[in-house]
């Protein structure tokens, strides 16, 4: 039986989709069978980040409604053959997703894959609550910035009350993934540091992804960064995070800024 993860945040634009794709590809590279599921009905983007946008025929709603079989809607990644995508619908009404329908699909996916990673839409509405509804564990993506941290706190509250696991009285395991971290700005006190965010949200840290041009480059190319930019700092951070998810004990490396001698003396232009 596979494990169901929800990647969620409350706030939009913090890196949920990028992280879903990167962690999915990282787990597949480690030899696991992985499916990434896009729950953002009407605004799907995981297909684009995965580079599979022209291969979408059927989607999650088709499967929920019984129009297509699950195997017809699953898209196998061209680079990693244990990585699959279940896309969201671009056009259909999000009310077409029912709790019962999603529950059936999740049970089916759980029996076929080691990891089912659900990419939640932003917000706290129906799409987001459905994406987390049947999860075993949650990854909360946060940027070190006030509005993102506040929204993450709300999402943690929802994970503890609106999920099936919470309703059964069980505790949902949560992992904090801090994305878009700029070590320089944190060191200068211009950005919340890791310790601040951890103390405020008080959930265990899964990884810290440094802000990097490589992330944009990867989404431009339509490949998860853990496939196309394997040597980059964010890819290393995602690989480490994926290993931690599998239970490996990996030392947490907080990104630091490499500061040159002249920069130290004369300062640097604000980014």
């Amino acid at each position: 039986m596979g494990k169901v993860l929800v990647v969620t945040s409350g706030k939009g634009g913090v890196g949920k989709t990028t992280s879903t794709a990167a962690l999915g590809a990282a787990l597949a590279r480690l030899g696991h069978n992985v499916v990434v599921v896009d729950f953002d009905v009407g605004l799907r983007n995981l297909d684009l980040v995965m580079g599979a946008e022209r291969r979408v025929v059927f989607d999650l709603i088709n499967v929920v409604q019984g129009v297509a079989k699950l195997t017809q809607a699953l898209i196998r990644d061209k680079r990693l053959d244990t990585l699959y995508l279940l896309p969201a619908s671009q056009t259909r009404d999000k009310d077409a997703l029912t709790e019962e329908g999603i529950a059936r699909v999740i049970i089916d996916l759980r029996s076929r894959f080691d990891w089912v990673i659900c990419d939640s839409p932003a917000g706290i509405e129906r799409g987001a609550t459905l994406a987390m509804r049947y999860a075993d564990e949650a990854i909360i993506v946060t940027n070190p910035e006030v509005s993102s941290v506040r929204d993450s706190d709300r999402i943690i509250g929802l994970l503890d009350s609106k999920t099936e696991k919470a309703e059964r009285g069980e505790r949902m395991a949560k992992h904090l993934l801090i994305a878009r971290f700029d070590p320089g700005r944190a060191a200068r006190g211009e950005m919340l540091n890791i310790q601040d965010v951890l103390e405020i949200l008080s959930i265990p840290l899964l990884g810290v992804i440094p802000e990097s041009e490589e992330v944009l480059r990867a989404s431009n190319l339509g490949a998860p960064i853990t496939i196309c930019g394997q040597q980059s700092a964010p890819a290393h951070a995602y690989m480490d995070a994926a290993r931690r998810l599998t239970g490996e004990d990996i030392e947490m490396l907080i990104p630091t800024e490499k500061v040159g001698f002249f920069t130290k003396i004369f300062g640097r232009r604000a980014a």
Partner: protein, 102 residues
């Protein structure tokens, strides 16, 4: 001069941290309190409705948090003619509809 930058208070992160801590402490309390109040209100309404026909809008429940103890205040408005009948009504009594559970 950059060399004297340490003289100026430029770090905004501690401000962000403090604002978040204060805000989240308040919001967490509000969220848990509002769900408690909704539950209390629904159950009080159900109990009172068994004996008196009341408007669900006329029930006010609030919690005042004080140091050491908190106060739960419940206010239920009952129309006068019902009160004059001793607060008890029979189902189908004149002018009274059936109790409306929320």
């Amino acid at each position: 001069m950059r060399l004297f930058r340490f003289l100026k208070p430029i770090s905004s992160a501690p401000v962000a941290r403090e604002r978040l801590q204060i805000l989240l402490e308040y919001e967490r309390r509000m969220v848990s309190q509002s769900s408690l109040i909704t539950t209390l209100k629904d159950e009080i309404l159900a109990v009172v409705s068994r004996h008196v026909s009341i408007d669900p809008e006329r029930i006010h429940v609030s919690v005042d948090r004080g140091e050491g103890f908190s106060t739960l205040a419940v206010g239920v408005q009952i129309p006068n003619k019902v009160a004059a009948e001793g607060g008890m009504i029979q189902t189908g009594a004149a002018g009274q509809g059936p109790a409306t559970p929320n």
